[in-house]
């Protein structure tokens, strides 16, 4: 948002507004520090007085000229205070709070919060604007925190699922790579990883191969029963996994595929097909048919046309469909639980039994690795999507 233009002038606001607001913020944080130390009321009072005093110092003594100096002073003050109160974790939290308070005093006191908003907004509207941002921020925190919490915990030196005091005081002894070592040295986990890597790529290949062909067929102008065929092909995505798993378990044991590698691969390919169909047909919507006609006109046979003209253009869609199919198979646990046997135990299966029975933080190490993988996949898909949109001239993004 920093690239938007300043549309409202800033000025120092009266103390009757600044001091209570900043003091209120101080009181809010003081409440937590106070309750942690034993007396909530004292925390509120100290927080209010301290922050209001700092705001007065900033606006009357330091002013805009010495803004940088005041902010650093503020950080230093709270670093020391935090360390005295709470040791190493207090140091970090104090520093963060000092940085925030320095910025907040000037943001409120100088009226900077109105800088990028139209001057005619009422106070209530401005308040709502920022409250809405804070609510959205809280939801984003809800979305992302669980994933972020897992990562540091995977470096836990203990066998706990929570932060130990050593970890919180940033003691190097509290951290270790033992869970990663566990993962890489345990035969069970390695077998699971191998199984996952043997099943997912083959299922992906099957799904992409059949799926791309069918998507091309479906995007022809005259396809009889298009709706019905589409509904059947998409159904593996819609039918609840437990039903697919139950049906496959019954049927595959009838035909002797239950508990075999082939059975699991076929089941996973079926689950991945809808993703391939959806992404590839979406890419084909923007495909310019006159290009294939031009190629045919110049004497290319259908196969050459497909591989030299059509394929390069829809490749991004095919690859992202393939990635979807891959992650579907790689993450899948319900179907493999039922269709597979002990010999097909995949990574998610191992995690699932781990979560249900013996809880070991090795799961968190695996989780962190998987988050890394998903970040790579996400980046790839996003890049491909943008490239495909650029190729089709749909959006500049």
């Amino acid at each position: 948002m920093s690239d938007t233009v300043v549309i409202t002038e800033t000025k120092t606001l009266p103390y009757s507004f600044t001091l209570p607001v900043v003091g209120g913020a101080g009181a809010f944080f003081g409440l937590f520090v106070g309750t942690a130390q034993g007396s909530g009321l004292l925390g509120v009072v100290i927080g209010f007085v301290l922050c209001a005093a700092l705001a007065w110092v900033a606006l009357s003594l330091a002013g805009v000229k010495n803004e940088k100096g005041f902010k650093w002073g503020c950080i230093a003050l709270f670093l020391v205070a935090g360390f005295l109160v709470g040791g190493a974790p207090g140091l970090v939290l104090g520093g963060l709070f000092g940085w925030f308070l320095g910025w907040f005093i000037y943001w409120i006191g100088r009226g900077r919060y109105r800088m990028f908003l139209p001057p005619y907004l009422t106070g209530g509207q401005v308040l709502w604007h920022y409250s809405f941002r804070v609510i959205c921020g809280a939801i984003f925190v809800f979305l992302i925190t669980p994933i972020l919490v897992v990562m540091p915990l995977s470096f836990n030196a203990e066998n706990f699922f929570t932060f130990t005091p050593e970890m919180l005081s940033f003691d190097p002894a509290g951290y270790s790579l033992r869970h990663y070592r566990d993962f890489f040295s345990s035969a069970e986990w390695q077998q699971a990883l191998r199984n996952s890597l043997m099943i997912a790529p083959v299922a992906t290949l099957l799904a992409v191969g059949f799926g791309t062909l069918a998507a091309i067929g479906l995007s022809q102008p005259h396809v009889p029963f298009r709706q019905a065929i589409m509904a059947i092909l998409i159904s593996p995505m819609i039918v609840p996994l437990i039903i697919s798993a139950a049906g496959m378990y019954f049927f595959y044991s009838r035909i002797g595929l239950q508990g075999t590698y082939v059975g699991v691969v076929l089941a996973h390919a079926a689950l991945g097909i809808p993703f391939v169909i959806i992404t590839v047909t979406a890419t084909l919507v923007g495909f310019d048919r006159s290009l294939t006609r031009a190629a045919a006109n110049m004497g290319a046979n259908p196969v050459t046309t497909f591989f030299r003209v059509q394929m390069p253009l829809i490749l991004p869609g095919v690859i992202s469909g393939g990635l979807f199919a891959f992650i579907t198979s790689f993450d899948e646990v319900v179907v493999v639980l039922f269709v597979g046997s002990a010999n097909q135990q995949t990574l998610p299966w191992q995690m699932f039994t781990g979560l249900r029975e013996q809880i070991s933080p090795t799961i968190l190490a695996v989780a962190t690795i998987l988050v890394g993988i998903s970040i790579v996949l996400l980046t790839t898909v996003e890049l491909l999507r943008r490239r495909s949109e650029r190729l089709r001239g749909l959006s500049p993004g």
Partner: protein, 594 residues
């Protein structure tokens, strides 16, 4: 480039079809270069095009039909299939069909006799416990009844068996029995018995396709219908000693097919001796003497000797084994579930049971599935509603921010979407536990005492929080794609006409965003109603869904029929929603990853 991408179907310009129509209006068909009418050759080209499209789709369609649709249909079939009773007790069920279950009278002796021979074969094939378990779902206690009597069966009419064995040593000899039963003309008889025994031991015959596969490509074990049993029944003996022939054929088939032993070395079951005694008692001496085999005289002597040995009725024997056999209750259950197809599983899934007077609700305290379905609906609705509540502000913010910022924030939505489901579930387990991160933070802040940590996992709260987090991206993405098409000028117009902020939002913006809410809600609801993994891990006992019950019936209680019936009900609900989704949003418009 952008010109060419516009949809060719919407261009309103002269097309060949219009030209042909115009020419035909003048009764003057246009001809193609080779002289055929242009209309005909165009139609041929169109047919070729359709065929090509279908050829491209066909491999996938077949693949999905075989690997996915067939299993679903199989599950639907299993929810009504009930062949186990008539396969295991074929003679009993046919005898029992004459019996009127409404009276308090016991079934006739013929039923007990048929049941003795059926149960004997089932015990030898080790199938009687399976059947007991199946009937136990409907009538508690039947399972132990079957197991108990299964053990006593060897001692029924012990005196007769011992008398025959002691009568002359050759009756204990497997070879003597084999030579007695063997002969000519009994092939059809053996095949009929083979079908019955294959159904009993639940081994299916190979399909013609399977036979072709085995003959040409793979080397397979011999199909069960082609295995040599080691004897051909004699048509004469079948006429003379019908029960003995049947019992001996059952013995021979199970010995060869199931135990993989040879009948030339195995002494027949006790049931064969009992059958022989019964047959001899009923056959006149003259017929026995006319038997062409060398054993004719032995049979006549045996008949004379057996006349002095007392034989208790089968009903009394079963009564001695367990009193319950002389009550109508187990017989009613067997008769009710004798047909090959049953609505019993569906009735069970609806908390009802079959009685001789038609379906009835179970007693109040045994109704669990209605409650479970209610809970599944309640949890799914709560999750959908929380997703709307949390997703709407985010989608609104993303669609009103500048492109670059919105794309950056979008990563925060897409990252959870791409992260493995189990990673997110384990993260919530870590966060919500009593010794978990949230409780630790609350204790550290002093908001909660160390002794009174909040219970946030293994209950409905845990399921709702974790699943809202997991399904939130599925709500935000469709909402976002709808909201980003709402032109901002409408909002500005409303404001400039004097509407307040609230009126602008409620009367102008919100109605336009409703399709996004609808699409997202149906998607989230469909996904949540069938969830299994997350409730299993964070749901405890109160926060589980109907899917967890299905999984329990498949893997633990082994009541596959009930699992299939519950699955079919769930499938119908989901398909109805899917249909609604298709009508409202269109399957083609499903978007992935923004």
């Amino acid at each position: 480039m952008s010109d060419a991408t516009s949809n060719a179907n919407t261009i309103d310009a002269p097309t060949p079809e219009k030209g042909i129509a115009a020419a035909e209006a003048k009764n003057n068909p246009v001809l193609a270069a080779d002289g055929t009418p242009l209309k005909k050759s165009l139609r041929r080209a169109l047919r070729a095009q359709k065929l090509r499209a279908l050829m491209l789709i066909a491999p996938l369609l077949i693949f999905v039909l075989v690997t996915f649709i067939a299993p679903i249909l199989d599950m639907l079939f299993r929810s009504i299939e009930n062949q186990i009773v008539s396969d295991t007790l074929p003679r009993t069920t046919s005898q029992l069909s004459e019996w009127d279950p409404a009276t308090d009278e016991l079934p006739p002796e013929a039923v007990y006799e048929a049941f003795y021979y059926d149960l004997f074969a089932a015990v030898e094939a080790r199938q009687h416990t399976r059947l007991g378990q199946r009937l136990n779902y409907e009538n508690t206690g039947v399972s132990s009844l079957f197991r108990g009597s299964g053990r006593d069966l060897d001692d029924f009419r012990e005196d007769q068996v011992e008398y025959i064995e002691d009568f002359s040593p050759e009756w204990e000899d497997a070879g003597y029995w084999l030579s007695l039963m063997s002969g000519e003309g009994g092939e059809d008889f053996l095949d009929t018995r083979r079908d019955a025994i294959l159904a009993l031991i639940r081994e299916s015959k190979r399909s013609p396709l399977g036979d072709l596969w085995c003959a040409t490509i793979a080397t397979c074990a011999t199909a069960p219908e082609d295995i040599d049993i080691g004897y051909t029944p004699s048509a004469e003996v079948i006429d003379l000693l019908p029960r003995t022939s049947e019992a001996y054929a059952d013995f021979a088939l199970i010995t060869v097919l199931e135990e993989e032993d040879s009948i030339a070395e195995e002494e027949p079951w006790e049931a064969v001796y009992v059958a022989l005694a019964q047959d001899l008692a009923e056959t006149p001496e003259s017929e026995l003497a006319a038997f062409s085999g060398p054993q004719a005289q032995a049979l006549v002597d045996l008949k004379a000797g057996l006349a002095d040995v007392e034989a208790q009725s089968f009903r009394d024997l079963f009564a001695q084994s367990d009193d319950d056999w002389v009550t109508p209750s187990p017989w009613r259950t067997i008769q009710t579930y004798a047909p090959a197809y049953t609505t019993g599983y569906f009735l069970n899934a609806a908390d009802m049971q079959k009685t001789p007077d038609g379906p009835e609700f179970r007693p109040e305290n045994e109704r669990i599935y209605g409650l479970l379905l209610q809970r599944t609906m309640f949890l799914s609705l709560t999750i959908t509603f929380s997703c709307i509540l949390l997703g709407y502000p985010i989608a609104y913010l993303l669609s009103n921010l500048p492109m670059r910022t919105a794309n950056l924030l979008m990563i925060l939505v897409l990252l959870p979407f791409w992260t493995s489901l189990l990673v997110r579930t384990s993260a919530w387990k870590v966060m919500l536990q009593q010794q978990g991160v949230i409780n630790d933070v609350l204790v550290w802040l002093g908001l909660v005492g160390d002794g009174s940590r909040l219970v946030m996992i293994n209950n409905q709260f845990g399921t709702i929080v974790a699943m809202t987090h997991i399904l939130l991206p599925f709500m935000i993405l469709p909402m976002y794609s709808v909201m980003s098409t709402i032109p901002p000028s409408y909002v500005r117009a409303a404001k400039s006409l004097g509407a307040t902020n609230w009126t602008t939002f409620w009367r102008v913006y919100f109605p336009q965003s409703v399709p996004g809410i609808g699409a997202g809600s149906i998607l989230v609801f469909i996904l949540s109603i069938g969830y299994y993994i997350t409730p299993e891990i964070v749901g405890g006992t109160t926060g589980t869904f109907i899917s967890n019950r299905i999984a329990y019936h498949i893997s633990s209680s082994l009541n596959w029929g009930l699992a299939a019936a519950l699955g079919s009900i769930l499938l119908v609900v989901v398909l109805a929603l899917y249909w609604a989704y298709d009508r409202i949003v269109g399957i083609d418009n499903v978007k992935l990853g923004g």
